[in-house]
């Protein structure tokens, strides 16, 4: 262990913010409560939404698979408590759009009966190959618990790259949030074990833990858990927001910069969150899927801020009630921290895999929205930008919707940390503009894709119509030509058959004239009558033919 010797590189920009962390770290992590209903969104991660594999009315047990991953970039969902599936429908989910999304709703029975998993937990994970480890991590539904929610099994696949360093992101730089801090204090050995499992899956040479220097207790706990291991470096980084940003932490620890628009894996580095490490440990050693997480409940609207184990799918409402938060006093609820979080309108929305914090602000602390003033080009935003962008320039183009120029200034490198917002003396909501520009550009790209598809389909249709017309004409011409041609009987078997049949009938007619019976011994009177009848028949026939 080389804690003090390790060099820390100073990342650019950033801010020293009021931490507000100690208010929620005075009590240990509380055990989970079982809400009456669980709302489990099918999409709690980046990638394709999971596909439900239970039906309404099914009884489910805790840890039972209820939705399977759809494709590679996806993650399965498990029931977080036992009960009955009462609906699969659209419900409010924690998302800045406040839109509803497809969810599985479970009415809990309160017994919290755990399903017997097919696989058993392994204390000796060394016997597993890395693809087996990844498969188990995938099956446990583990996604990045730091906030982004990228399926972890993908981030644990070196994919041809050589992984030099596995970094455990323990910085937790955003104000108010303390869930990782508390996890490290209470579950340090399990986290370190999870880190080693991930190291094995990645064949990483060595591990580094980046932790902000304000988390002394957590640091000590991790140090104890590491013991005398030499392949895990634990490094204290200065408490400066956004020290926990993936790229910022990588730079702080290694001095390397991940390529713009690229992944850190390309420079041999993989970064995982503390919570993810713990979930990986539970998945491998206890065969437990991801059904709960630690959430920080904090802010001036919560009487006793704290961290709490929450079953995934627990509505925010139940958490607020549990903490005795007076709904009349609540001014605003945010999911995530004050810098990068978003406002939640509906408290029926559940806690998902990526919900690390519920920040409740008392209504007396809500300030009136300040009107933003024109940009004075002071350049403060550029000074604090941790990714070395020019926010005022980006703002200029985003505001006038010149999206080509925004991209010239590398809009997509913006991590939306919000530092520029904080320092802006004109109170311009810069990040809002950047988010607006990003999502509009994505929409334009989707529109372009759609219009290209429409063009292609239209052209194919025109081609098809033309082809059909041509074929019709050709068919018509062929028919015409066939009619004109002298009918050749020998060639046409149908006609030959008809002719043969007619010939047969003719022959039959000529040979088989009806011979009248009972004509012997006729009297002359009878004979004359017959003759007369014959003559009449002949005459009738002649008349008929004549007519």
């Amino acid at each position: 262990m080389t804690t003090s010797l390790h060099q820390v590189y100073d990342f650019r920009g950033g801010l020293y913010l009021d931490e507000h962390k100690s208010i929620s770290t005075s009590t240990p992590i509380e055990a989970a409560l079982i809400p009456s209903i669980l709302v489990l969104p099918l999409s709690q991660h980046i990638g394709a939404a999971a596909k439900p594999c239970v039906a309404v009315g099914d009884s489910v047990l805790k840890g039972q698979l209820i939705a399977t991953a759809d494709g590679r970039v996806s993650a399965p969902v498990h029931a977080s408590s036992s009960g009955e599936v009462i609906a699969i429908e659209k419900r409010h989910v924690p998302h800045p759009s406040q839109l509803k999304a497809e969810c599985i709703i479970i009415k809990t029975d309160g017994r919290d009966t755990v399903i017997e998993q097919e696989q058993t937990g392994l204390s000796n994970y060394h016997s597993l190959r890395s693809d087996e480890l990844r498969q188990r991590i995938h099956d446990a539904g583990i996604v990045g618990l730091g906030g982004a929610g990228f399926p972890s099994h993908i981030k644990l696949k070196p994919g041809g790259h050589h992984v030099e360093t596995l970094i455990l992101n323990a910085a937790e730089c955003e104000p108010y949030i303390t869930c990782d801090d508390m996890l490290m204090r209470e579950h340090a050995p399990a986290i370190i074990n999870g880190l080693r499992i991930m190291q094995q899956a990645l064949h990483a040479k060595h591990c580094m833990i980046g932790i902000e220097d304000n988390k002394i207790e957590a640091f000590t706990a991790l140090q104890e858990a590491i013991g005398n291991d030499t392949d895990i470096d634990i490094v204290r980084v200065p408490t400066r927001y956004p020290a926990g940003g993936e790229r910022q932490l990588i730079y702080s620890l290694t001095g390397k910069e991940a390529p713009s628009q690229g992944r850190p894996l390309e420079i041999g580095i993989v970064c995982h969150n503390v919570g993810t490490a713990l979930a990986v440990n539970d998945a491998i050693t206890k065969a437990e899927p991801l059904v709960s997480r630690v959430v920080t409940l904090t802010g001036s609207g919560i009487p006793q801020p704290r961290n709490i184990h929450v079953l995934l799918g627990t509505p925010v409402d139940d958490l607020l009630k549990h903490c005795h938060a007076d709904s009349d006093d609540i001014g605003r609820i945010m999911i995530g921290g004050p810098m990068m979080g978003f406002v939640l309108d509906s408290t029926t929305a559940p806690v998902t895999k990526t919900t690390n914090c519920v920040l409740v602000t008392h209504k007396r602390d809500i300030q009136k929205p300040e009107t933003s003033l024109p940009c004075i080009r002071c350049g403060d935003c550029a000074d604090v930008c941790p990714v070395n962008l020019l926010p005022q320039q980006l703002y200029w183009y985003a505001r006038s919707q010149e999206f080509d120029h925004v991209q010239d200034y590398n809009l997509f490198d913006c991590i939306e940390c919000g530092c520029c917002d904080v320092v802006c003396p004109s109170r311009i909501p810069l990040v809002q503009y950047f988010r607006f520009a990003k999502t509009t550009i994505w929409q334009q790209e989707r529109d372009k894709e759609k219009s290209d598809k429409a063009r292609e389909r239209h052209e194919l249709r025109l081609e098809r119509l033309e082809r059909e017309k041509r074929e019709k004409r050709e068919r018509h011409n062929r028919k015409k030509a066939a009619l004109k041609k002298e009918p050749d009987q020998k060639d046409d078997p149908k006609k030959a058959a008809i002719l043969a049949a007619m010939k047969r009938v003719k022959e039959k007619k000529s040979t088989e004239s009806v011979t009248p019976g009972n004509t012997d011994d006729l009297s002359s009177e009878q004979q004359s009558k017959i003759d007369a009848a014959d003559a009449r028949r002949a005459k009738n026939k002649k008349d008929k033919n004549g007519a």
Partner: protein, 189 residues
Amino acid sequence: MLAAIITLLTIAVIFGLILGFAAIRFKVDSDPVVDKIDALLPQTQCGQCTFPGCRPYAEAIANGEVEINQCPPGGDATIVALADLLGRDILPLNPENGEVKEEKTVVIIDEEICIGCTLCIQACPVDAILGAAKQMHTVIIDNCTGCDLCIPPCPVDCIYIVPEKTSANQWQWPNPNEVVPATKAEQPS
């Protein structure tokens, strides 16, 4: 004198060959301007511009026959882009061609009412309706451009216009110019 003539002739022949080769090697089948204009049009193929599709309209623009303001689905953005490309003046959308829709729409077929007449299938410019004679028809929503051309031919009026659905991951942040921003109350000043 003769040497000069021969030299000049030789040069002429060489350049002629180069030009001739280039004409074959770098031959362009269609007018590249038409392609560029076509790329800016929204490809709804709705015919509101009075042309039977986006490409014919692009050709007409390229030939200078029509103005650039006849595409309601493209709206102002398309007019600005076309003006930019062609160096023409920006014009307001021609109201004779229709109005800009407030939101993107697609159509759906009420399958209970559909009689399977195939008239809508014949009208759809992008083959986005699936069905056969006397069989139920349905719209392939992902391919529907919202041109609404299938609506007039339907004899039983079973095609409805519905807004295009937005899922959370396709959602766009609102333009802060148009909304009052929420302040960050707990932010340290």
